[in-house]
């Protein structure tokens, strides 16, 4: 009995120490499963554009930081419940999310794209290279029509709670059969297995997967930006935490001026995705 008592006391003390040691650090939540934005290396260490950028921003803020992992579908609830203080997880700034949390200024932007397996009937759609949905012009509207016809009755796979899911749910490309997955990895797996006729995500997420897996994944149709796809990726922060929001905005200003953001972005994306 005595041993059990001592043992549980020891656990309690060490738990308490971990909690108190982390009390005044800024905790940043990331997913660790959305390369090249954020992912994990073979040893389980968090790596990626946002992990490196987070450390840089913390240096500018001048506070201790800790990066914690959180599943994507619980990201915003976890922030609200104070499991961490900021989100850096490739999260686009959208009006829908802004109802629940605040965002810093954007630090990087990406375009979304549909992907299929080589040989798919969806290859070779006649659309412009990219369309912006904030104020869609005639060409963009025409492209959406082309997509609506091509995707009718098709199964399109996306990660859950993403801008990509919102876009498909919005009806801009008609009624498609949307399948949602917990992680982008699972979307990639089912795209490769043929369960999905197409998948929608950040274009870089697909090129990263194609490169690492050697699978013949090809991008089709236009790249998407604006509208349901939001206005760049920013740091998500609780609405009442204006002090931290200002600190991050200032740190992003500095990092941008010193060229840190474009340097880190070029390193991870292969092109300058900073904004």
């Amino acid at each position: 009995m005595n041993i059990i008592k001592k043992f549980s006391l020891g656990i309690l003390i060490s738990l308490f120490l971990t909690i108190s040691a982390n009390a005044d650090k800024i905790k940043i939540g990331t997913e660790g499963a959305y390369p090249p934005w954020n992912s994990k290396d073979a040893s389980g260490k968090l790596i990626g554009f946002e992990v490196e950028l987070a450390w840089t921003l913390c240096r500018y803020i001048g506070e201790q930081c800790e990066i914690v992992e959180q599943d994507w579908d619980g990201m915003i609830p976890a922030l609200i419940m104070r499991k961490f203080d900021a989100i850096m997880a490739g999260m686009s700034i959208t009006a829908e999310r802004q109802k629940a949390i605040s965002f810093s200024q954007g630090y990087a932007d990406e375009v979304a794209s549909l992907a299929v397996m080589k040989g798919s009937s969806l290859e070779g759609m006649d659309t412009p290279a990219g369309i912006n949905l904030t104020k869609p012009n005639t060409a963009a509207k025409k492209a959406l029509k082309t997509l609506t016809t091509a995707l009718a009755g098709k199964t399109v796979c996306v990660q859950t709670a993403t801008i990509h899911q919102n876009f498909l749910d919005s009806g801009d490309v008609g009624k498609v059969n949307v399948r949602t997955y917990k992680t982008q990895d699972e979307v990639n797996l089912d795209l490769a297995s043929g369960r999905c006729d197409a998948a929608l995500a950040a274009a870089v997420a697909f090129s990263d997967y194609a490169e690492k897996s050697g699978k013949p994944v090809v991008l089709v149709g236009p790249t998407f930006s604006g509208g349901a796809f939001g206005n760049g990726v920013g740091v998500g922060i609780r609405k009442d935490d204006t002090e931290l929001l200002n600190a991050f905005n200032k740190a992003i200003d500095k990092a941008r001026k010193n060229g840190d953001i474009s340097r880190i972005a070029t390193k991870w994306f292969g092109f300058d995705a900073s904004m």
Partner: protein, 223 residues
């Protein structure tokens, strides 16, 4: 607490409950057939058949249901050869993958429940049958099976309830069951507590119904 959200999400969750019940009933149906078959194999005197049946229940009771459903859905989907066979028609669909995983899992538990029920039948019942000149086959179908089913009712009731909760894993392979729709609503409202309370209450209510049905059957067939 956002009560309006709770009220608004209720009909959507209730709709999704239909899928949950479909998954549950299909899994229990196939699981019972598998369970009955393997329970009989388990009491076989042939050591090879016996070991085979034991191996099946050992593997499916010894690994998490989530792992089983992932292996069947994502794992089998990676085998290129399989995708060219006729099996892919079934394995392509998340619905059937989920039912296969659930049925195999509940089948393993059901086989153990029925096996122990068979083995606890008092020899007197069988001897009484024999002394009346009833054939072994009839003894098996008219005496052993009915008694075994009655004996296993309480344990099987638990298994139904466990399986009901197990169906929530269907949402991990893209099915929009009760949990899947709850997660979907949370993904747009960012309010997990409210939605999960409603979804949890629906699960609880279903458990209540199953529990009472089993209790009723126990009373009705008591001896």
């Amino acid at each position: 607490m956002d009560f309006e959200l709770m009220v608004n999400s209720f009909p959507k969750l209730l709709n999704a409950t239909a899928i949950t019940l479909k998954l549950l009933s299909a899994s229990l149906f196939f699981g019972l057939l598998i369970g009955l078959l393997f329970a009989v194999l388990r009491i076989s005197k042939n050591p090879i058949i016996n070991k085979f049946a034991y191996g099946y229940s050992y593997v499916f009771r010894g690994t998490p249901l989530l792992v089983q459903i992932f292996i069947i859905y994502f794992g089998l989907g990676q085998i290129e050869y399989l995708r060219t066979t006729v099996l892919w028609v079934i394995l392509k669909e998340p619905y059937w993958c989920a039912i296969i995983a659930f049925a195999l899992n509940t089948g393993a538990y059901t086989s153990e429940i029925l096996r122990s029920a068979f083995q606890t039948i008092k020899p007197g019942f069988i001897e009484a049958g024999k002394s009346l000149g009833i054939s072994n086959k009839i003894i098996f179908y008219r005496i052993q099976i009915p008694i075994a089913i009655r004996q296993s009712l309480p344990a099987y009731g638990n298994e139904i309830i466990l399986m009901l909760k197990g169906t929530s894993l269907a949402s991990t392979v893209t099915l929009m069951d009760l949990t899947g729709v709850a997660k979907y609503i949370i993904s747009t409202t960012f309010k997990p507590i409210e939605v999960f309370i409603v979804a949890g209450s629906i699960y609880l209510f279903m458990t209540f119904l199953i529990h009472n049905l089993i209790k009723f059957l126990e009373k009705k067939y008591s001896f």
